[in-house]
């Protein structure tokens, strides 16, 4: 009850405090702390020690206002709870860690209104760039992005027109290629299992490409099953059970993501269904998890890590002036991984 050791300064520290403590002007302190402009070694040290002993933390709000430069990059993605976006984030962080840029993440839950809110909120902090998932946005969102006057990279998808730059894969093509691979392997009775998500445009595009290419091979999707919410692995099981019950003649199941595919795979193995002879299976995304399954599920790697990296590179390059123009279009090619469940 009796510690007069240090009265914690109720008023937060400012440059002035450091300036007074070290006997130089605020400007000089500012220069030292930002490593900008010439400062003699002696005063530099004086300032640095003063700042450290005081425990000074610069106020970036004031700094940003004065210099109209913000080292934040807005990253807007649907969610973090499926395995796809964490990996994108890893790629982004990896690249941004070598710059003075900092990612700031916002979630939309696949809701356009939420996206609009989050975007508005983030833009009001005047970030140096925006990385946003998808090519489909509300009109208001597009207008904001356009008016912001900063680099915008739309990621994941390249089937459409970007506002500025885009990095991703063609989900239509991914669907098509999978369809062709399935047809080539001789499967005829194909079922589709996916999410009940009218707002997941990429899943939709994959499905469109899939059916389109199947049609060219004279095939069609014979049955479908949808889910929403819950444990994806469990849902995969349940949906597989349901669809096979309803359509016993199916010999291939295409899942809209690896997680439900893995559930389906486990279910089939348990039921003694011969995979891939009796029934073939395939998912989408190329999540790391698949490596640990009894059989390696066929999938298509979406290159999520590389998407994150490339998007960050564009933002970083444009922020530091290395890159002049905008409008980059980077299409990565999804890689088919047949695994053990797509061969005959």
């Amino acid at each position: 009850m009796n510690d007069e050791v240090e009265i914690p300064p109720r008023r937060p520290l400012t440059l002035r405090d450091v300036s007074e403590a070290s006997g130089v002007s605020e400007m000089t302190v500012s220069r030292v702390l930002r490593n900008r402009g010439d400062v003699s070694e002696s005063t530099r040290e004086k300032v640095l020690t003063a700042a450290k002993t005081l425990g000074y933390v610069p106020n970036k709000i004031a700094g940003a206002l004065a210099s109209s430069r913000v080292n934040l990059v807005a990253v807007i993605i649907p969610s973090m709870s499926n395995m796809v976006f964490p990996e994108v984030m890893t790629g982004i962080s990896e690249v941004l860690d070598n710059t003075d840029l900092q990612p700031v993440v916002g979630f939309t839950n696949y809701l356009p209104e939420k996206e609009e809110q989050v975007l508005f909120e983030m833009l009001s902090w005047r970030p140096s760039g925006v990385i946003i998932a998808g090519l489909e946005h509300s009109e208001a969102s597009e207008a904001m992005l356009l008016a912001a006057g900063i680099p915008v990279v739309e990621i994941m998808d390249v089937d459409g027109e970007p506002i500025d730059a885009m990095v991703g894969i063609s989900h239509r093509r991914a669907g098509r290629e999978m369809a062709r691979a399935i047809a080539k392997s001789g499967y005829k009775n194909i079922g589709f299992l996916g999410t009940k998500m009218p707002l997941d445009h990429r899943a939709r595009k994959r499905f469109e490409g899939f059916t389109e290419a199947l049609a060219k091979e004279g095939l069609e999707v014979m049955d479908r099953e949808f889910y929403s919410g819950g444990s994806a692995l469990l849902k995969g099981r349940e949906m597989t059970a349901a669809i096979l019950e309803r359509s016993p003649s199916l010999d291939f199941l295409y899942y809209s993501n690896d997680m439900i595919g893995a559930g389906g795979l486990l279910y089939c193995l348990e039921k003694g269904i011969k995979v891939p002879e009796q029934i073939g299976l395939a998912g989408f995304n190329g999540v790391e998890l698949l490596a640990g399954l009894p059989l390696k599920l066929a999938t298509m790697d979406a290159g999520r890590l590389e998407i994150g990296r490339e998007a960050a590179r564009i933002i970083a390059g444009r922020a530091d002036g290395t890159i002049e123009e905008g409008g980059q279009r980077v299409e990565l090619t999804p890689k088919l991984e047949p695994g053990d469940t797509l061969v005959r």
Copy 2:
């Protein structure tokens, strides 16, 4: 090439632009946009339409500087790539979505230096609160947190002294309870499989509690296996194969997380090992994934969602003045879920 429709204003819009467009003072525009103070309905509408047609996005940097109020909450966590923190984030977002607070996430990769950097960076934006994983921080980090003068909630763990508030479970206790449950089930030869992470204090505490309680039962950990990096599911398989090869007499395997536990479970089932009779298994965390496995892995739910919610509630409450004091200590009780792999 000939669209003189709208020259996109090179200079970003400010309050002044809106003020001029609507014929009122900047102050009034500010009042309207923030819904604060009395403004007549007619001018309110004038301002609102002006702002909308111009596409004005307020500059929170300036606003924050002037009002010294920031609606940001810094959330500092190790990573997003295991299944534990996404769920914590969900809990945080859930609560914060009902306030005007916004989470801003930073990652430390379990590195104290990285934590320090991220913390410094975030504090320099003067957030309204900090939610940070763990009770162990570098001296500098603690000093910063202390000096920041804002609510700080340390989450996940309660085995230690918080800087301010804390919300979590006792990992020592979680380890102890699991040990007791295992002993009670009659298992005698116990193996431990975990991450090679000297910096994961919570895993360490669980292990300490585990061995301590085992000792009281006259038991001890007979063999151990560690890993780092890679696909956790796959690593779980490999480690299980390795430890059983080396110590065939083991009749129980305790995994430091559910993911490697799931890998081990799949491995055992494949090898025809009778679970839980021949060998019992248990993990930790209670991830949703487990529901989809052939057998439900025994685990201990860490209440991650609730941790996130509670932490956010404390921050929100203190930010809006609903809660006066600091130093809250919320200990949630981990729930043992025996599943199908911890019974005899």
